[in-house]
């Protein structure tokens, strides 16, 4: 049998899953519920404020890092889930899942440096 190349995607999956486990709940709280629930002022997520938050290179790097890992974790798990519900065309599913993750990654690389 041939040794698999899965460690590449699995490493991303494991790192992304860990990051997601620690940070995604508070991220959702911050972006979706903080203002509507009155935990933060109405301008906490305004155009000016968000630009200001991302003004430091470190913030943009951290943002990229977290979203990159989370998106590749989700992509790999989605590929496995497709297999689990009986979709046999694994190569096609892999291309679709990792393709979306790659597109999202590219978008971030194009957008973040210029902010």
């Amino acid at each position: 049998m041939v040794r698999s190349h899965k460690p590449v995607v699995w490493g991303l999956f494991a790192a992304g899953g860990t990051v997601a486990a620690f940070l995604v709940p508070v991220m959702i709280l911050f972006t979706c519920f903080a203002v509507p629930l009155g935990l933060l002022p109405a301008d906490a997520l305004s155009y000016d404020r968000v630009l200001d938050l991302l003004s430091q290179p470190f913030s943009r790097l951290a943002t990229f890092g977290v979203l990159f890992l989370v998106i590749w974790h989700a992509a790999h798990r989605l590929r496995i889930t497709a297999h689990d519900v009986g979709i046999r065309a694994d190569s096609l599913v892999a291309i679709a899942c990792y393709g979306i993750a790659a597109a999202a990654t590219l978008l971030m690389l194009l957008v973040l440096p210029g902010l």
């Binding site: 049998m1 698999s4 190349h5 460690p7 009986g86």
Partner: protein, 247 residues
């Protein structure tokens, strides 16, 4: 009023007579201290001599009597009648071809077991006169739980990845490979890696964890496989960076 009897619905299959397996019901006495195996033995001895099934030790160490009882893979000698309702459904282990009645064909597992080299590969072969391969208690402790496997195959019956794709090497075989990889007296990890680190090896596992939930010996094959994934990933990246040292 205390229970007097239970009804067993047993999946029967006679390859020479039946097109497909079918359930057959038997009424057996209920005894407080009986296990499912006792009830099945009663069927064979008193009601239907044609019933076929595997069993031996009747004390959960030989691994022979694995069956699916009310949807859960168990050792029949380990499942007490008092823990089940009045009607109990008994089938052969899932994910294996049915040979006859409750007997399944386990050749696939036997092949896979051999393929992971489940034996010590020492650094240097020693003659018997030279003495034992020494090991300290903490070194034994690292792999002790993975030695407990009795090859009962409940884990394969529970594993959905094995159900979806029978090329999967499977929980017990991979846990045993891990047992030897962790053994300080063994240097065979590289030799096992071609099977363990292949796509049908650890990478087929999606950590459902059903195997560890049904294991009667608390081997925890799911944990073994995750640790093996980490080891395999380490080797993969190490080999990328230092190909001349390929393990």
């Amino acid at each position: 009023m205390s229970k007097q009897s239970v009804e067993l619905e047993i999946l029967r299959y006679d390859p020479e007579r039946d097109e497909a397996p079918h359930f057959q019901s038997y009424t057996v006495p209920y005894r407080e201290d009986w296990v499912v195996l006792d009830a099945v033995n009663y069927v064979k001895e008193e009601l239907d001599r044609t019933l076929s099934y595997r069993w031996s030790c009747h004390m959960a160490v030989c691994g022979s009597c694995g069956m699916v009882v009310d949807g859960e893979p168990v050792l029949a000698c380990h499942a007490f009648l008092r823990d089940y309702p009045d009607r109990i459904r008994i089938e052969p282990l899932h994910n294996f071809p049915v040979e006859r009645d409750l007997v399944v064909v386990i050749d696939d597992f036997i092949d896979k077991l051999g393929s992971v080299k489940p034996y010590l590969v020492p650094k240097e072969e020693k003659d018997v006169e030279e003495g034992e391969y020494l090991q300290k208690p903490p070194e034994l402790a690292t792999f002790m739980q993975y030695t407990a496997c009795i090859n009962c195959l409940l884990c394969y019956s529970a594993c959905p990845q094995y159900a979806l794709d029978e090329s999967f090497v499977g929980p017990a075989a991979l846990a045993l490979a891990h047992r030897y990889n962790l053994d300080s007296r063994d240097v065979g990890r590289g030799a096992r890696e071609d099977v363990v680190a292949s796509n049908p090896g650890v990478w087929q596992c999606s950590f459902v964890g059903a195997c560890s939930e049904v294991c009667p010996k608390s081997v925890d094959p799911a944990a073994a496989i995750q640790q093996a994934k980490i080891a395999a990933s380490g080797d993969y990246f190490l080999n990328l960076l230092t190909p001349w040292k390929r393990k």
